[in-house]
């Protein structure tokens, strides 16, 4: 019998090592697996490479992981911590390496990793500082930049509902990078707000089929923090 549910965050995170590359879903305060990130902190993991759109918010989850200097490098499109200047402080102090990636290129590099595509050409960033040192090619009169697939050792995903096969549904803007990252890591770990019986989620509405998911933990934390 397939049952991807585990009993605790600690069990869900078992086997992750220092120096791992971790894909972290979420956009702003929405759709980020905060309890799994807190679990990484508790495990004392360090020297991590984090791939995420933002650098978190306030002093919780990803922001806290960064503030505790557990992250060696962040691969990110918008490295800001909402409500805090702590990312800028770390960056200025030279305590974190930043690979700045345009948001669409970030999504596509992760998608490519999940799809077995090693690299692709894109017009994004051609002729800009973010293409410096990268291979370019002219195709039909337009210049494109070669971008490599971006794999994770681990993906941390937040879902709204999950069943024991790991089929996932997301909630509103909480979807964002989560389904893309779920496809692109050796170990995909999900925290879900709700548990569904197998067969209960309408197959027409499943966003992430269970094949992409390794472990699921039930974390019914409620709603994201409202930040005005």
């Amino acid at each position: 019998m397939i049952d991807k549910f585990v009993n605790s965050v600690a069990e869900a995170l078992e086997g992750i090592k220092d120096g791992a590359t971790i894909l972290v879903g979420g956009f702003g305060a929405v759709g980020q697996a905060n309890q799994l990130i807190d679990g990484l902190i508790e495990l004392g993991l360090r020297d991590l490479t984090v791939v995420a759109n933002n650098a978190g918010y306030r002093q919780i989850g990803l922001a806290r992981l960064l503030q505790l200097r557990r992250v060696r490098k962040i691969i990110c499109s918008f490295p800001r911590i909402a409500g805090s200047t702590s990312f800028e402080d770390l960056y200025r102090a030279g305590e974190i390496e930043l690979e700045l990636v345009p948001q669409g290129t970030l999504a596509e590099r992760i998608r490519a990793a999940g799809a077995g595509v090693p690299a692709f050409f894109t017009a994004t960033a051609a002729g800009t500082d973010l293409a410096l040192g990268k291979e370019t090619r002219e195709i039909d009169g337009r210049t494109y930049v070669l971008e490599n697939a971006l794999h994770g050792d681990v993906a941390l995903v937040e879902a709204w509902r999950a069943d024991r096969w790991g089929n996932l549904v997301y909630r509103e803007a909480g979807r964002n990078f989560n389904p893309v990252m779920a496809t692109a890591a050796a170990l995909t770990i999900v925290q879900t707000q709700h548990v569904a019986k197998l067969g209960e989620i309408d197959p027409e509405t499943i966003v992430t089929p269970g094949i992409f998911v390794n472990r699921v933990v039930h974390v019914p934390y409620g709603d994201p923090l409202i930040m005005l």
Partner: protein, 222 residues
């Protein structure tokens, strides 16, 4: 330094005036992405009777207006992390699909703010490259090359009175030769091969006055 506000013959558009002016030019049926700042305000001023579908990078088509404070849905934010609503017919999708819409030329229009626009259409709007500051780019570079058209909305000059329309960008580029049209607080200008063609000015402003406040080559509408 010339002040835009002290001249009696004409008045620059304020943020709302600018947003309203841009909104007038968006036809019924377009799919549109709006950047952070004044571009976001454009959504509030679409003329009655036009159905325009707003896209957000974080996986939303059919953005509606901001909710009342007591009706906030904490799961529903736009790319600027502001709370929004969804209109009937709206949809959610993941980031790779969202940027398929952007990079695959499915959006009719993107409206962005800018630090500078050069007369060849070069756009600088992502970083001022201040030493020691952490740069951030978001979706700006994808939108600049991916939307069918890119319009910029911005003040005509910086607070220090420096023209934001330039012959060549001084700040790092977001994308080369991508801007089609610029709405400034003083004028509407199309990017054409010789420079900026003025297609409209605030009432009372002369072409010569506009040129004197602009560090780029302007051409009157023939």
């Amino acid at each position: 330094m010339k002040s835009e506000n002290k001249t009696s013959a004409w008045t620059p558009l304020d943020r709302v005036g600018l947003a309203r002016r841009v909104a007038q030019d968006i036809p019924d049926g377009w799919y549109v992405n709006l950047g952070i700042g004044v571009p976001t305000l454009v959504a509030n001023h679409v003329p009655e009777g036009r159905e325009v579908v707003f896209h957000s990078e974080n996986g939303i088509l059919g953005l509606g207006p901001g909710p009342e404070t007591d009706k906030i849905n904490p799961w529903l934010v736009n790319a600027g992390k502001q709370y929004v609503t969804l209109v009937p017919g709206g949809s959610y999708f993941h980031h790779a699909d969202s940027f398929t819409m952007i990079r695959g030329r499915h959006l009719d229009l993107c409206v962005l703010g800018a630090f500078e626009v050069a007369q060849n259409g070069d756009l600088a709007n992502w970083t001022t490259a201040t030493p020691g500051a952490a740069p951030a780019v978001g979706g700006a570079m994808d939108l600049a090359v991916g939307a069918k058209r890119l319009w910029v909305v911005m003040d005509h000059s910086t607070k220090e009175g420096k023209s934001k329309l330039v012959r060549k960008c001084g700040y790092p580029l977001t994308a080369p030769a991508c801007v089609k049209r610029v709405y400034t607080s003083l004028a509407v200008l199309d990017v054409v091969s010789e420079g900026f063609r003025v297609v409209g000015m605030v009432p009372g402003l002369s072409f010569e006055e506009l040129q004197s406040r602009t560090d780029a080559d302007l051409f009157p509408l023939a």
